[in-house]
Amino acid sequence: MSTEITAGGKPFIHRHSAHCESGVTSALFRDKGVEISEPMIFGIGSGIFFGHLPFVKMAGVTISTFRSQPGAVFRKSAKRLGGKFITSRFRNPQKGMDELRRVLKTGQIVGLTTNIYWLSYFPNRFRFQFNGHNLIALREIEGGFRVSDPMLEWPVDCPTEDLERARFAHGPLEPHGFMYYPQSIVLKPDLRNACIKGMKDTCNMMLRIPLPIFGIRGMRFLAKKVIHSPDKLGFQGACRELSSIVRMQEEVGTGGAGFRYMYAAFLQEAAELFGSDDLVLLSGEMTAIGDIWREFAIVSARIIKQRGQSEDNFDKAGGLMMICAEREEELFRNLRSVVRKLKA
């Protein structure tokens, strides 16, 4: 945590967060005087998800995701908390940068969607062409901007050229200089109602999407695929697929199955809010599931590192994922029946 002054002379408190989007959204709310934590935004915005897209390939491997699509957490949580946001996209990069400068001069901090490759303050090995990273611009400084990136411990300086390239990068999910800032925010939002909406939505997304690649069904699908992958792709190819799954779990998200832990943190906070013991139990169960996901990552890394020499094999990795699917299904079914009993 560290304090920074915005162009309007107001102090801004930077908090280290686990996920970029929920971190940025909660910081925008806090800046307006609504004290709300990152897991709370993550839960209300239904950030937890699972999906495996066998037909989308990035650098030769298929994509699996452990979170909802980029932008959804911000959109949903803002709506459920009754905040009105001004959002804009631009065709012309110059206009996009001018508008950012204009808004910053009024003392307003601005959330931006960027491409992580062009943000040079990240370590080189984390810079991939990924167009869904969010950060907050605090104020203009000479030759650049002061930005608060929730993934980092402290606010940093970002050169203008880098930021312009990052905001107007091309490729899948083009950001088009997407920027957002609050217009009006309800100072005492109805947290209980928002939590219930968020949890219900999450249960529906995990359990009721009638496609085999999303939610719990997606997990089972992927687990089976992992078990059969060495026969189909050969050892090397199977390792690449497995490493991309773990990378999505660890890197393009948060450290160590972080989304599961963050959702457990949300359930814990919600349990306090509602005074519900059921939610405390579910939070504990979610933590246990997160631990299995970590176990899966450890087993996968061992397979890749030891080239199949140890007793760890693809059956074991897929089996762990199957256990995760089993337990998450039970958890979300229980959550659904608990939520029905909660009163807004």
């Binding site: 686990a18 062409q129 050229e161 660890e250 832990y261 963050m262």
Partner: protein, 131 residues
Amino acid sequence: MKANEVPQDITYYEGKKRACYALNDEGKYVIVPSSGWDVEAVVNGLAVDEMAASLEVTRQAVLAGSKSPLCYHMELRQMTPEILAKTAGIAKFRLKRHLRPEIFAKLKTSVLDRYAQALAVTRKELKTVPT
């Protein structure tokens, strides 16, 4: 995950730390900064090594004269022809022609400048690869 189980394996993030949610002694979730995890180093290392290896293959191909330097710089920026074509504002089929060394050698400076701008390199750098 308990707070004391948060991995502090290596300084893999080049001194930067990443936030993890973990349970403290009272069973409450708190943010604990992590300095890196071996598992992550393995899986990320595999991807990084693969990219470095394919970049090296391309560099050799450029030196051998079977690919243009543009191809190297495109891969260095982890771009595909689609992304680069859009960034530089040049049609994809034209760009794919420019990946051939004999066609690349004849390009006008105005076209080269657009590539240089899109790839954030100077025009001189664009025409060469590191030896």
